[in-house]
Symmetry: C3
Subunit: 409 residues, 3 copies
């Protein structure tokens, strides 16, 4: 169906980025990475239907604790394994009792002759799953026997700091509207001027609506970094606030302890950020995605994530909703997440919507180019940009965002 030669001659454009189903260019690219498909806390002793990159799958933990991600339709006659019984070393289809292990191998067919070798021949679609720090990663790409290494993501490692994994969040718009939003610092100053970023005191109002920071976009081996600066507190210094975007779909922001946890900005100025806030985006399909968030905090505040949670709960929208106001997303102003959902959820699909881009969109333009290049690389069987273990000493994969004050060069 897809020949190498056909692939290579197809020109990839930004209109390809949103589409991740099987056989699409971005879908093939996405399948080169380990993707988060669930959390250990939210996976119970029942099968969990999950749609990933347009494929209907079932995630489960067998009675030995091994994780499986298998095709939702039983290969026998199609009944959904979402209703399978987890027993006897696998998941058993309720209709005729076919039993599959986490690798998709059929182990039993109660209705077939007892000496039949038919079970050995039947293999259900199955993808390898690995657990790391409470997140469940699956690899859905080629060479399933030799998947690429799963990076040791910093916030998922047990390194002595405080860690947290949030329950999955779900959205019903295209994943890339969310992802490229992080390559666009102007929106922080405008859309979020009513919420956390507007209220902060750090850096003398770093994300000011009227005096926006200077920003640069640096291509990285993992993707792109957004570097925002403002004149610092002393001569020869500058405030810096960075966000990192790692392919295929990880965002890390460094200012969570000030924007959301409302810690004293002095510490940020003096010592830099001590909270890594990672967001892993996994598209269900072109119109839905899941968002998994993992944090690592190494600062001095005890029960940091309890505080963060309490402060987030206070971040309700501040917007008055008038009695005649029936708009779907009201209220949204005052809560960063809801502001993003409103703005990104009404954008439509990249490649279908009309756009007029300015110089302040140069981060988005650059980032789209980086993604298009990565898709082309994947289609040519190269290794696209993305996160790899980069510290040979620790083996830990981190994203090097800096938030704080630094000397100007």
């Amino acid at each position: 169906m897809k020949t190498g030669s056909r692939r290579k001659t197809r020109i990839i454009t930004v209109a390809d980025i949103p589409h991740v189903g099987p056989g699409t260019p971005a879908g093939e690219w996405f399948r080169r990475y380990w993707l988060v498909v669930g959390t250990t806390k939210e996976l119970y002793d029942i099968p969990q239907a999950v749609r990933v990159l347009g494929e209907d799958l079932v995630l489960f933990r067998d009675i030995t604790g091994a994780y499986g991600l298998v095709g939702q339709s039983c290969p026998h006659r199609g009944t959904s394994l979402e209703y399978g019984d987890i027993e006897d070393g696998g998941i058993r289809c309720p209709y005729h009792g076919w039993l599959f292990n986490v690798r998709g191998q059929c182990l039993e067919m109660p209705g077939e002759p007892k000496d039949s070798n038919f079970p050995q021949k039947v293999k259900q679609l199955a993808y390898p799953v690995r657990e790391q720090g409470g997140l469940l990663f699956a690899y859905m790409g080629p060479n399933q026997d030799k998947p690429p290494p799963l990076p040791n993501y910093l916030p998922l490692m047990d390194r002595g700091g405080q860690r947290q994994v949030e329950p999955v969040r779900r959205a019903d718009y295209n994943w890339f509207n969310f992802f490229e939003n992080s390559a666009d610092p102007v929106h922080v100053c405008v859309l979020h001027r009513h919420a956390g970023y507007g209220q902060q005191s750090w850096g003398n109002h770093f994300f000011s609506y009227t005096e926006m920071p200077h920003f640069e976009f640096v291509e990285m081996d993992y993707g792109m970094k957004v570097v925002m600066t403002k004149p610092g507190p002393q001569a020869g210094t500058e405030f810096i606030d960075e966000m990192s975007l790692a392919l295929p779909s990880i965002v890390q922001v460094g200012d969570t302890e000030f924007v959301h946890a409302k810690l004293d900005a002095t510490a940020l100025i003096n010592e830099g950020s001590r909270c890594e806030h990672w967001m892993f985006v996994t598209p269900n399909d072109d119109d839905h995605f899941m968002l998994f968030t993992a944090d690592n905090y190494t600062g001095p505040v005890e029960n940091f994530f309890q505080r963060l949670k309490e402060m987030r709960e206070q971040e309700r929208p501040v917007q008055e909703v008038k009695p005649y106001d029936k708009r779907k997303f009201m209220p949204y102003q005052g809560n960063i997440r809801q502001e993003d959902i409103m703005a990104q959820g009404t954008q439509g699909l990249l490649g279908e919507r009309r756009e007029q881009l300015g110089t302040s969109d140069r981060g988005v333009i650059k980032f789209r180019k980086i993604v298009v290049d990565a898709i082309e690389t994947a289609l040519q069987d190269g290794t696209p940009k993305g996160l790899l273990p980069r510290d040979p000493a620790t083996g830990v994969t981190r994203l090097d965002t800096t938030v704080g004050v630094r000397p100007t060069e």
Copy 2:
């Protein structure tokens, strides 16, 4: 995309009438008129999303009181201007703060360099809007700088009588099912025999199921008039009841004060109708339309519209609904508006449904022909039939329906 020559060779049929999206024949025709898109009473200090002729738009009133009707998607990156902030002489996109005035001109881009001339170059889709007597009219056709004159519709003029604009009504079927229904007097005697028209005493039971009036259909410069007559109270007289249909989508009926307000029919017989009841139909798209109603009453009854409202509230369906009756539109019999919604809402689309027309459908047949001719005229850049100021003395546009008794010729 659409060349004049291609247009001229396309043969228009009745199957074209229901379809009003951009680029369709009836859509191009509809865009030659001012259309009602809202009411001043229902437009608050927030943007109002409105779909007109298949286009997603936002209606708003800026802080100076000027009305705007602009494209819903921000031309920058697509976020919906339904969530725009009305401020600073326009509507501001919440995502990056681009500000547009009512003519669609971009005034500000907070993220762009302060000396940028990019704002000047960006113009959002915008249509001119004019207010008249509480209704908001927009012109979405060619030559936006020189739109056709907006007629001075009689019920919207301040002429000393009592006036009323009803809140918008919405329906989820094709606009033409509603519109051509007025070219079909038989339905009044049949469908509405349980409701107002069946209960009336005027004209010795003018709209009788068994003794229907005589009816004629007269082509007018504005569209068509339905003329219904019955033998009058004295020799040499006849009862007359007329309805007018003005292109593209205005209906005026003259007997509201008797059918709905239940005034004594003697007055109607002696003096003729004193209530003009205008309905302006605006398609949202092929499956939905809005209905705006404006009345002008010049008779002696004080608080006529209060009485009309009270009498309409008594027009509940009289139909018993049995416990086992789960049909969607039940009950409908006894309320003219609900009778119409049931009958028109289940018809399907003209051109898709099968029909067998009789001589009693000659009004519908004639009217469809008038509309098809108007579409063809519009596509040939002529001026299609419709309402124009016709009384040079007053400048007021009225529809000349007669209801009452007149001498036979």
Copy 3:
């Protein structure tokens, strides 16, 4: 549109079976039989909209008691006859009063001239309907004037035993998932191991999950019979339990009095089944079907169907639903009907889903072949397999399932 020659050259496959709309191969085949379209108990004095084989129809009983099944859209201008008034010897469209009798003949057009012959010329789509034992059968095929004989179905005949017709059941998946399920005895031992079939004592646990019965599939002139056997209570005997599938869509099972009514299995062993349980499947379209059930009981238990009803009400699912379990069909285990709905309702469409069939699917494979042959026969204008009066003495049509103990051959 469909020429005989084209039909004959088209190769029919199992992928054709699920599709029953007008003009499809299976649709043409289905239209060779009388199909159940309603029950007399559930047809009131109002029209009943019913979709059959993809056609939107209205079922009604006129004031004389005659049954009609006519096209839903009025042939005049399309308004739905679901809102028709049943009066004056037919059903009258509410919009303009056209009156149709049960044969679709137009009888009146109140708006047309009184001497018009237009009514005589207009015939609405209408199918013949016959009542039998509380079920309403329609024939939607060719040669409507000479439809095939309606069989005298045993459970619908008044023969002295107790009879029952259940209210219609509705499902929102393809009819053939339900129908072929009966050609698949393994599912009884697996899917229903939690419910009635797992709890039974008869035949020393006839439908055991671990010791399944032997089964054979016998092609019959009406379709296929499933014959399940196990070693009997004495040497030289065997337990037997049969199910019959009659084309196009009738299932008869013989063990209802033990599986559901929980009668003492001794009687079944000694005397055989005395309850015929017939299920008539009628597709609304490819994604929905109706299920009509008729029983005939000739055993000694008084008020047998009252007992059956009470016992069925106790067959609630026994499955615990955990607080985090949000799966759509939960709970289902423990109730045979809900187990079937879960398994069949998630299968997807035959021909679209992927399958890997084993030797235990040989009943399904054989049955699909029988259906494909019947479709081909119908398309070649032959008489496809199906139920016909087969007992010349009584004229009654029965399905010869045996349930009980018999000597081995």
